[in-house]
């Protein structure tokens, strides 16, 4: 079910007294906090959309005395820049969300994994973290957060690759199971949550889960922050209620000549003009971690696809066959077809390859390369060939 249209919301950047929310949360039992999350229907805001309440519940159920809450601030999806903005403007709420999550799952330590591209934020964040630690101390609670920096590797946004990176290794995704809730960073039970998810959790505690469920749809509760870029007169960060159609979105942000919207970044889906009205932005339609790129009719979708494939061929960790070789094949394949060196029917083989990557790659990266590939090729086939 879609919403009535595009509705702007102000939760993530809303000015609140984080200390007050923390005091409220620390008075709750762990189970109560988790219940709030379950009731809210909050799903992870990084893009994968796993229910936050369940993640916390599973991690809480692990008997280990040592657990971790990890904040995934390795925002690398092309077209996504919301987490940087959130950390820049309301880091206090991010840190607060980690403390609440820590309380819920029984973790005393939190790690923020911040992408290397955002290192310039670090001095400011360190000052803010310092005052956060003081505040937590004042409340009489024991929780410590440290920052670990990325160094330029998209794949480290994948949770288990991120753990490997924190452990000082190459950011190569692990085999699952075991899942992070059982064995995460340093092989301890870990809840890993996106920056925005943690802030949303704070707001759910602040306003109550009922307030949250009034926004969005059955499958996509609440609102989320969108990163809008491309051919738009108003690029930037916007918090919108979930459940609108791409048409609603284009009506607001398009330049009057929008031919396609890439929802969810390079690993997401390309929605062509003819499907704007029927496509809901959310878990019932096209899910997104917030990346919304608009392309107008002056743009070549071949160039868009080529840019994405080039990105994946470089940013794949390289360990598994379908992803490492598959990305190179898709890239070289579209180049050859474009140049007329391969038959246009070769695209059919590449579509099948994209299907194999979706089911046989080791992690979410390789599994999602096919999203952009298939949606662009099937909707803009002529642009790829000629």
């Amino acid at each position: 079910m879609e919403n009535n249209g595009l509705n702007k919301v102000d939760l993530i950047f809303e000015k609140i007294d984080t200390k007050e929310v923390l005091i409220k949360a620390f008075k709750m039992s762990n189970a109560e906090i988790i219940q709030h999350m379950l009731d809210s229907g909050l799903k992870g805001r990084g893009g994968a959309g796993f229910p936050t309440g369940l993640k916390w519940k599973y991690t809480a159920a692990e008997p280990s005395p040592e657990k971790y809450i990890v904040c995934n601030a390795d925002e690398g999806e092309p077209g996504t820049f919301k987490d940087r903005e959130i950390l820049d403007r309301v880091s206090n709420k991010v840190h607060g969300g980690m403390a609440i999550a820590g309380k819920a799952i029984g973790a005393r330590s939190g790690i923020v994994y911040l992408r290397g591209e955002y290192r310039y934020l670090l001095p400011k964040l360190m000052i803010e973290l310092d005052s956060f630690h003081k505040m937590i101390h004042e409340i009489g609670y024991d929780f410590n957060i440290e920052y670990r920096m990325g160094s330029g590797a998209y794949i480290c946004g994948e949770e288990s690759a991120l753990f490997e990176s924190i452990e000082g290794k190459r950011g190569e995704p692990r085999n699952k199971p075991p899942y992070p809730t059982v064995s995460g960073v340093f092989e301890k039970p870990t809840s890993i949550n996106n920056v925005e998810t943690l802030v949303t959790a704070v707001m759910i505690i602040f306003h109550g889960s009922k307030n949250f469920t009034q926004y969005g749809t059955k499958d996509s509760r609440g609102s989320k922050v969108f990163s809008v870029s491309g051919d738009t007169p108003t690029p930037g960060i916007f918090e919108l209620e979930l459940g609108m159609t791409v048409q609603h979105f284009v009506n607001e942000f398009g330049d009057g000549d929008t031919k396609a919207v890439q929802v969810g970044g390079a690993s997401g889906f390309c929605v062509p003009r003819k499907k704007f009205a029927e496509t809901i932005i959310g878990f019932e339609g096209v899910p997104t971690g917030g990346s919304m790129k608009l392309f107008n009719s002056s743009r070549s979708m071949y160039n868009v696809l080529h840019n994405y494939l080039d990105f994946f061929a470089e940013e794949s960790c390289g360990q598994c066959t379908p992803c490492r070789v598959g990305c190179q094949q898709l890239l070289k394949g579209v180049e050859k077809v474009k140049k007329g060196e391969s038959k246009s029917t070769y695209l059919t083989e590449l579509m099948k390859l994209a299907d194999t990557m979706k089911i046989a790659a080791k992690c979410g990266l390789g599994q999602s390369v096919g999203n952009a590939f298939k949606s662009i090729v099937s909707n803009f086939k002529e642009e790829i060939i000629y």
Partner: protein
């Protein structure tokens, strides 16, 4: 080429001598010198009691942990879709003209390196670059010329 001296020892003492401190140590070296020499990697391996090949293997996974010589100012130009759409090529041409180097190269005086990089998270203010840690956004050829000229005076 810089001499690593006591830096690795100091950094390992500061961060700790275990594997999970590898990346922070490498990052601190790069922060200071912009790239990792073989000597630095061998020293790190020794301090953490891991093999030098593993240090190299780990460093080479991360784009920002350069293992080839870089200048004092590393200019990273975002090449991902929005920046490409919004004039990345003009920015590169401008930089190449000013610095008299091509993408991937370092100036003879070891002041600047020019490299392309994947999305740096400034798509709404494209095109964007990083000079070391600092982002510069909504660039035009004129604007980027001014920025580089300021750096040249530093």
């Amino acid at each position: 080429m810089y001499q690593v001296g006591n830096l690795v020892k100091e950094l390992s003492d500061k961060h700790g001598h275990t594997r999970e401190n590898l990346i922070p140590i490498l990052q601190d070296i790069v922060h200071k010198y912009n790239y990792l020499t073989d000597e630095a990697m061998v020293e790190v391996a020794k301090e953490l009691d891991i093999s030098a090949a593993e240090v190299y293997g780990t460093a080479s996974f991360y784009t920002f942990l350069d293992t080839q010589e870089r200048g004092k100012y590393v200019i990273r130009i975002c090449k991902t879709i929005t920046c490409s759409m919004k004039g990345k090529s003009d920015i590169i041409h401008t930089l190449e003209d000013i610095l008299k180097i091509k993408v991937g190269e370092t100036t003879a005086d070891k002041q600047f390196s020019l490299i392309e990089t994947n999305c740096i998270g400034w798509c709404h203010k494209a095109p964007a670059i990083l000079i070391n840690d600092m982002p510069y956004t909504e660039l035009t050829p004129e604007k980027v010329s001014e920025i580089i000229k300021d750096y040249m005076k530093k």
